[in-house]
């Protein structure tokens, strides 16, 4: 659905997005993670045909981003939730959506149906005649999401949709994204909320001007982070440590009667480790594998790039 190839955007001498190559499949919720200034918003703006690219190419549903006639077609099939809600505060919730429905050339019956559907889905139907300016921050954000969906877009771009929201409102927005996922909508989600990305995204890309990693949350945790096998014993002695050091490729640390072994592939190496401990006279109480979190993987990548 979304393909970019070496997509680059420079502002004067500053490169905001550097050679971005990625692919987002139809019906996928793709999370774009990165620190502030990483180029996430610039990427979304390029893909939404709001700003031009410096070089490279991008396609959405086979349409070429940057091509003048395709740009208009792209805007028709996408929805965009900006990092600021940008509602017309003096218009009612309904009027805000109706205006956008008209801009997308939705017929009146379709507008009415979609507005009612999305306002009900987001729990805003009772507030439809209230001025947008009188709604709470969370309600405004939900209304901005409904606005982006009023024309039933094929792809939804969301730029930090839960930033500055209270936990309850953020949860509602996340649940709504999960609902969109169930409906097989393609969602491109910019966020720096790792927990959110992990909960709602099928795949995640980590961007810091350049795309540093891409994969499912689990793949990122495993591929980037370190995994450790933690073995709880009755007692640890030198014979056990020697046995481990002979066979283990990873670093072994001891904490009283607990051993932690850093491994590249614990599933493959754990049986040999346990066997070595038992043969050295150890009495294994439990074995567990801990993977570094997505947060750990993310921080490691960002730090590595800074260095």
């Amino acid at each position: 659905m979304i393909e970019t190839d070496n997509l680059t955007r420079k502002f004067g001498g500053v490169t905001a997005v550097d050679g971005l190559t990625l692919r987002v499949d139809d019906g996928e919720v793709f999370g774009f993670l990165g620190p502030n200034g990483a180029g996430k918003t610039t990427t979304v703006r390029m893909l939404c045909c709001l700003i031009s690219k410096t070089s490279g190419s991008a396609r959405i549903a086979g349409l070429e981003v940057g091509n003048k006639s395709d740009s208009m077609k792209i805007r028709k099939i996408i929805g965009f939730v900006s990092d600021n809600v940008g509602l017309y505060e003096s218009l009612t919730a309904y009027e805000n959506l109706d205006y956008y429905g008209k801009l997308y050339k939705c017929s009146e019956p379709r507008r009415k149906e979609n507005i009612e559907r999305f306002l009900k889905m987001l729990g805003l139907w009772e507030k439809k005649d209230d001025a947008a300016g009188t709604l709470s921050k969370g309600m405004k954000q939900k209304l901005a999401i409904a606005r982006a969906l009023v024309h039933d877009p094929e792809v939804l771009f969301m730029d930090e949709p839960t930033a500055n929201l209270d936990p309850e409102s953020a949860k509602t927005v996340r649940e709504f994204i999960l609902e969109l996922r169930k409906q097989r909508k393609t969602v491109f989600l910019n966020t720096h909320n790792l927990d959110e990305a992990q909960r709602v995204c099928d795949r995640i890309g980590i961007l810091n001007t350049r795309l540093m990693a891409v994969g499912t949350p689990q793949e990122l945790e495993y591929s980037v982070g370190e995994r450790k096998t933690v073995i709880q014993l009755d007692e640890v002695n030198d014979a056990i440590l020697d046995a481990l050091n002979r066979i283990s490729p990873g670093k072994v640390t001891r904490d009283d009667s607990r051993l932690t072994v850093e491994l590249a592939n614990p599933n493959k190496e754990n049986p040999a480790i346990v066997r070595a401990i038992v043969e050295a006279g150890g009495n294994v109480q439990s074995v567990s594998v801990t993977a570094s979190s997505l947060e750990g993987a993310y921080l490691k990548l960002v730090r590595e790039q800074r260095e």
Partner: protein, 242 residues
């Protein structure tokens, strides 16, 4: 360019405007207040029986509606663009399948129509009341005439366009509606200079002069339209506007 889209944008702008009572009242009340003030000026001239300076006074006062056309639209244009910039609603709007030209045209229509209608209404009341007041002294109805026709139907709309285009350009560098309004009000200076020149008898508000002034404003409008459309484009708005 899809005119339906431009009208949709204009209709939304007018709906928002109708809920900003201060702006709406300003647009309606100022021309009416001027009409009342002008009527009292002319009434005093009529009372003095001074028919020689009466036509100069009537033309000058009619021309003041042109000055007004250079002032009033800027307040709506400023609100429409800078206000939207403050509410951060431009970015979602620009992500819709609209062209920059349609957005600009829609906003310009909304900034143009209410002030011009208000000015025409005020000027109509002014002309009718002037005819009523001066008919006995002049023995004929002064209005309507070609001069007032050119001023109100040609020069005033051109002045309004001038004002809107300059406000669009200024809006790209301004971050609050008040500053945009202040800059907008400055648009009246060249038109006011002509008003004073006419009132002082330096120039006359004859048909020839009015057509020359209209031509100059038209050329300025065309030049400004080029500048305003290049200022009001997605790339500029999202990457360079303050």
């Amino acid at each position: 360019m899809n005119l339906e889209t431009a009208f949709t944008i204009a209709a939304k702008e007018l709906k928002v405007l109708s809920r900003k009572r201060s702006i709406f009242a300003y647009i309606i009340i100022v021309p009416l207040l001027l009409t009342v003030a002008f009527a009292s000026i002319i009434q005093s001239q009529v009372a003095a029986g001074n028919s020689t300076t009466l036509s100069l006074g009537l033309d000058s006062l009619t021309y003041f509606f042109v000055v007004l056309a250079a002032i009033l639209p800027s307040s709506i244009a400023a609100y429409s663009i800078v206000g939207e910039k403050i509410e951060k609603s431009l970015e979602p709007l620009l992500a819709t399948p609209t062209t920059d030209g349609e957005v600009l045209l829609g906003k310009s229509i909304a900034a143009f129509v209410p002030p011009i209608l208000s000015i025409w209404a005020g000027a109509s009341i002014f002309m009718a009341s002037m005819d009523y007041l001066t008919h006995n002294l002049l023995s004929y109805y002064y209005f309507p005439n070609w001069n007032s026709g050119v001023m109100l139907l040609l020069l005033a709309p051109l002045a309004a366009v001038f004002s809107i285009e300059l406000t669009v350009i200024a809006s790209s560098r301004l971050t609050d509606v008040r500053s945009a309004n202040q800059v907008g009000v400055l648009m009246f200076i060249p038109f006011m200079a002509v008003f004073f020149a006419g009132a002082e008898g330096i120039i006359t508000f004859g048909l020839d002069n009015l057509l020359i002034i209209s031509g100059i404003v038209l050329i300025s409008d065309l030049a400004l339209s080029f500048l305003s459309t290049s200022t009001f484009n997605r790339e500029e708005i999202l990457t360079k506007w303050k």
